[in-house]
């Protein structure tokens, strides 16, 4: 980026400056990023390898390093989308209305463990979990209650369900929208539909094997986008955030999402589609973790990697196919149950990383999340945190404001290189389903957990209130409790539905679903029919289990 002779001059001066440092002493710590990249004391033009037009360019132009839209936040600010859900769909609807009335610009449904795992509330295996960690969404009636009185034709909705239950849950949502008189061809929203969330992010309960999970994820993509049933929907959101929370670093986070994305693209190409038919609607969900500059560089590197991947490996023709769009969540794992007020500071800094990195949609954590589900007061403060950045700091005034920083450009290049090597490492194992089924990904996760835990226990990674200036658990924060009656309410909802629906007709439809599963055809058309007639998520997932069997994940300890 700089003139050769001028660089020579800088090099000479730099050597003189280095001598000055010979008699100084540095603090006795490792100067490295969170992912272990060694960091120099100073960056100068000598460190910048990138050529401006090729590697940075202009926002909205290839290689998109500086952003995917030409006008970025001067045109439209990022969507403030707080992931929320608890108790019942009715209670969640109240929380959504509360946030919307305070300026939230997108909705996101956090579902409970039963909805994730395809279990109905009438099943004694999990009834105590109903509504505890998210909203229960077991049948079409739940969708009406969830969205009652909300402008879902104008505000986009994220349904945070994974491939094991994404087909029935999305079908329920689309049917509800149709019955409300909306055209699903214009419906905006996202389904998380991420193969790794329920496999390495959490421990799955009675799910099917990853090869079927991968196919289910691709069924939704195919039906929504290239088959043009819900063409404006993002049918998948590769969720590096969830596994990052388990201890992996920024390089692995990008490695996991890109290797996973390639496996999905390959599957759709095998089905006969061209990459330009669908890839523009694939989206990402990344973490904003503790290392301020590394996270910003990560978002910039991610845009450039995705561009190269889609252009070079898949030979896409449409530049819009190469745009990396992403949602960010601040790092829940960085929060402490000790001095929870400090979490407000942590979240603010992490939200700023996302803003400086060109995020499209952002969730900020509530300060009480290491203790309980967010209270109304805490969630409002989390929303206000984003609003302070958007409305008071003037950060969104100019696009990609840190570009050109010697350090940021060097770190962006460095991360990109390391992510490419990590993608190669994963792909040597096979596609993402194989990397799961062989246990390789579980070992990577375990080793990362252990490394991070050891660093914290040794004090190499500082957690204020825990391993530095330790304080006892906070006793003053009001603990938000989810509705204990939720289980009864949801059981009644299902029982009433079963009485009301045409069970004979449903039996025929379940036979049809069984055949579709056996033949490994796209499940979405039958899912639209069967959920409209009142089939529940648990009943549908039982058919999956019956036809495909239950998978025992090869978890490594």
């Amino acid at each position: 980026m700089f003139d050769e002779n001028y660089l020579k001059k800088i090099k000479e001066r730099k050597q003189e400056w280095d001598k000055k440092l010979e008699n100084t002493k540095e603090r006795d710590i490792k100067f490295i990023t969170d992912s272990g990249i060694p960091i120099k004391n100073l960056y100068t033009p000598l460190d910048v390898k990138s050529n401006y037009l090729e590697n940075l360019g202009f926002p909205g132009n290839t290689p998109y390093t500086r952003g995917v839209y030409p006008n970025m936040y001067r045109g439209r600010l990022w969507t403030m989308r707080l992931f929320s859900g608890h108790g019942t769909p009715e209670e969640t609807n109240k929380r959504w209305k509360f946030l919307y009335s305070h300026g939230e610009t997108g909705f996101s449904a956090a579902v409970d463990a039963l909805t994730f795992n395809g279990i109905d509330p009438t099943n004694p295996d999990g009834d105590a979990e109903v509504g505890t960690s998210g909203v229960p969404l077991y049948c079409i009636d739940s969708m009406f209650a969830l969205t009652e009185g909300l402008p879902i034709d104008k505000v986009s909705v994220a349904l945070i369900v994974e491939p094991f239950t994404s087909a029935p849950v999305c079908a329920m949502y689309y049917n509800m929208a149709k019955m409300r008189g909306l055209d699903i061809k214009t419906l905006m929203g996202t389904t998380q539909n991420d193969i790794l969330t329920m496999t390495v992010g959490y421990v799955p309960y009675k799910n099917v094997n990853p090869y079927h999970i991968l196919r289910l994820a691709c069924d939704l993509i195919e039906w929504c986008v290239p088959q043009k049933n819900v063409p404006r929907w993002h049918p998948i959101n590769f969720t590096g955030y969830n596994y990052r929370e388990g201890g992996i670093d920024a390089i692995q986070e990008l490695g996991f999402v890109f290797a996973s994305a390639c496996s999905h693209i390959d599957n759709l190409i095998e089905r006969g589609w061209k990459v330009d038919d669908f890839v523009n609607r694939l989206a990402f969900h990344l973490s904003a973790h503790k290392d301020f500059f590394e996270e910003i560089a990560k978002y910039r590197a991610a845009r450039r990697i995705w561009y190269k991947l889609i252009k070079d490996r898949y030979e896409a023709k449409n530049p819009r196919s190469m745009e990396f769009r992403f949602h960010v969540q601040t790092a829940g794992s960085s929060l402490t149950a000790q001095s929870p007020n400090v979490n407000i500071v942590r979240t603010t800094i992490q939200a700023l990383e996302a803003a400086l990195g060109g995020v499209q949609s952002l969730h900020t954590n509530s300060y009480d999340e290491a203790i309980c589900l967010p209270s109304k007061e805490a969630v409002l403060l989390a929303l206000r945190t984003q609003q302070v950045i958007q409305d008071e700091t003037r950060v969104p005034n100019t696009i990609d404001p840190l570009a050109g920083s010697y350090f940021i450009e060097w770190l962006t290049d460095e991360l990109e290189e390391r992510v490419w090597s990590y993608i190669d490492k994963i792909e040597k194992v096979g596609n993402i389903a194989k990397a799961l089924d062989t246990g390789w990904l579980y070992k990577e996760m375990r080793d990362a957990f252990m490394r991070r835990q050891n660093r914290i226990e040794k004090g190499e990674e500082i957690v204020l209130g825990v391993n530095k200036f330790p304080v006892p658990y906070d006793q003053t924060t009001t603990v938000f409790r989810t509705n204990k009656e939720a289980v009864k309410i949801e059981q009644e909802r299902i029982i009433n539905l079963r009485k009301r629906r045409d069970n004979a007709k449903l039996e025929t439809l379940f036979d049809k679903l069984r055949k579709v599963c056996e033949k490994e055809e796209n499940v979405m058309p039958i899912m639209m029919e069967i959920t409209k007639e009142g089939a529940t998520v648990g009943e549908i997932c039982d058919v999956y289990r019956e036809v495909w069997g239950i998978w025992e994940p090869p978890i490594a300890i």
């Binding site: 463990a113 795992n117 309960y205 999340e369 309980c372 252990m450 209130g465 006892p472 978890i555």
Partner: protein, 110 residues
């Protein structure tokens, strides 16, 4: 999983159950003849599940055979409630594994 690995590294034999229901937890604890049952919960359902596990152990008359530990996203206000139910110790976010190891070594087979 970090806890499981940490306990194994401390020389203990660990059976990681994964996501199990109450009956599975109790059955495998009895059939594997373990000393400690560790329950990890992050959803907020820790009171309900722990109570069910303990009730089932009592029903089977084997409650006193096990040291019961609970960990996860658990408000400190619930620590006492869990201990009154019969849990030996509770570990919230930010726990170091060696504290769990120490507690087990000191409290087992008393």
């Amino acid at each position: 999983m970090v806890v499981s690995r940490g306990l194994r590294d401390a020389g203990m034999e660990v059976i990681f159950g994964g996501f199990q229901n109450v009956e599975q937890i109790v059955e495998s604890a009895i059939s594997e003849d373990v000393d400690v049952i560790g329950l990890s919960m992050h959803s907020g359902a820790h009171l309900a599940y722990t109570e069910r596990v303990i009730n089932l152990l009592k029903e089977k008359g084997v409650k006193d055979h096990f040291l019961i530990l609970v960990g996860g996203v658990i408000p400190v206000k619930d620590f006492l409630v869990l201990k009154e139910m019969g849990v030996a110790n509770v570990y919230g976010p930010g726990t170091v594994v060696r504290d769990i190891v120490k507690f087990i070594v000191e409290n087992i087979k008393k």
